[in-house]
Point group: C2
Chain length 317, copies 2
């Protein structure tokens, strides 16, 4: 990796994800600094020896001076306020983000900072805690980090963002924004709704039912315990893709209900679910194959990378 | 507890649950012996120092001679073969079972052994492993063990079965059979179907989706990995109650889909699920209050115990 793919890193928002990025890249020896809206968070970061400030304009001017990679890690709802300021003060900086949906962020960038050099990202890492106190330089080690890989993505910019993910210890999953949003609707957002429905039906039954609840209920409803505002922000930002995943889920459950009522069996759904779970366990328990035979900038590199990622391969350079 | 509530224990079926019962009561100093259909299982139990035989008729004659409590821990599908033999050779023995549904078992007893002294039971303990090798005398420690508590349940027989559960380290949850079956449909059987649907939708999306799957998918689909035959036997035996729980789940998901499509929010379902999960976590993290002010045989004792159990209280004598 050349130095051109390792510019200084400017992190906007020092919560769990942004703060952990700052910790991770500093540990790798990179120059990095951050902005946080609240003085508490910035002071906590400074107390741990990091370069953090609450003055957004000063931080962005420094990013522009140093040619930094700007990492947006503030809540999605803040983008329409934040991005015009980035456009004004650091218009030429390469921009990425860590928000859990990608098409809405790309649209916000298009709307608020139309000339931006922007390559989106999404690290798949825990969100049940929050704030600087929860940050961890190991948060992304061996995690999957999606990096936007469209046909018109600039290969040098892509490599710079992918290198950020690699410096955090993650494996890079190249994907188009729409495919990413459909995938996380199915494997990250839908589980919140099925967990919520399962929890509500169980708790609606009786104190007896909750007292009898054991492992299947405990694990199957865990994510329903996430703060509702966090769940809503994440799920509602991915409305269209989530509607599709939810409709397919309803169709499968309705078919199971009909089969149970009419034929006394749940064989189809149980067998499909079992096969799916085994496929997941096999994928989770074996190292991801490395994306091979393609470099950013090769003819058709983005499509070729996406094809390999759809098979479960990751960029590990 | 008097000795009359601690007769010898005769366990029919030495798999995970039955074998663990045998280990637990022998550790408590009780006389206990078992039957297992396969010679392998019986030999494994004998090798560990337990009294186990493959001759069902000899085991049942001994149970009759010793006035043993018979614990049926064979699969539900074997009841129609097993119970007539019990009726013929040990007609007066008190009978209990550990099957995960209660009304169908009570009906099988009524059909095959109409004069039986029978009080059903259901320990809420793990089922992902099986066979004698997986048995553990601690399997039931602090677990919940439902004991059938109908208005016409004989109090002395109830106390004998409840004492078995207590000797295994469990807390006793007194409930009517139909209430139990509704409760486990909601908190034990339904989670298998929502996990299966979530897994199938996630795996159907792409290898990309499974590669991006993290904690919410891992935990939310875990029970879909249980052997399909085990899942089907458990769920299909509780068809009516499961149909109701499944229909309520479908209604909640359809309402969430409509709310997301029409109003852009998932607030209702996420809020309901969050409240439900917090109620469960609070119940799971605090010791169950003890059922108080009622003894088996008191006027209206069964209804009074059920009322307290519906609030989440357990019998801990």
């Amino acid at each position: 990796m050349t130095d051109s793919s390792r510019p200084p890193v400017c992190v906007l928002g020092l919560g769990l994800i942004g703060g952990s990025v700052l910790r991770a890249v500093v540990r790798e020896g990179r120059t990095a600094f951050g902005y946080n809206r609240s003085e508490d968070g910035a002071a906590a970061a400074r107390a741990d020896g990091f370069d953090a400030d609450t003055d957004l304009e000063a931080v962005l001017r420094r990013a522009a001076d140093e040619g930094a990679l700007i990492v947006v890690s503030t809540p999605a709802t803040t983008l329409d306020d934040l991005l015009p300021t980035v456009a004004r003060l650091a218009p030429d900086c390469l921009l990425t983000d860590v928000v859990s949906v990608k098409e809405p962020v790309a649209q916000a960038v298009q709307r608020c900072h139309p000339g931006a050099r922007y390559v989106g990202g999404h690290p798949m890492a825990g969100t049940s805690q929050s704030g600087w106190a929860a940050t961890d330089p190991d948060l992304f080690v061996d995690a999957m980090w999606m990096v936007t890989t469209q046909d018109d993505t600039d290969p040098a910019a892509w490599l710079t963002v992918a290198t950020l993910a690699r410096d955090c210890g993650a494996q890079v999953v190249p994907a188009a924004n729409d495919a990413h949003d459909r995938a996380v609707a199915a494997i990250s957002h839908l589980p919140h709704l099925t967990a919520a429905a399962t929890a509500a039906v169980g708790a609606g039954e009786s104190g007896l039912a909750l007292r009898l609840a054991a492992g299947s209920f405990r694990d199957g409803t865990r994510v329903a315990g996430t703060a509702p505002a966090l769940q809503r922000a994440m799920l509602e930002a991915n409305r269209i893709a989530l509607l599709n995943a939810l409709s397919e889920t309803i169709d499968r459950l309705v078919a199971a209900r009909d089969e149970l009522r009419d034929a006394g069996t749940v064989a189809t759904l149980v067998d499909d679910g079992h096969r799916a779970r085994l496929a997941y366990e096999e994928m989770a328990s074996t190292p991801a194959p490395a994306i091979a035979d393609v470099e950013p900038g090769d003819d058709g590199w983005a499509a070729q990378m996406r094809r390999q990622a759809h098979l479960g391969h990751t960029w590990q350079r």
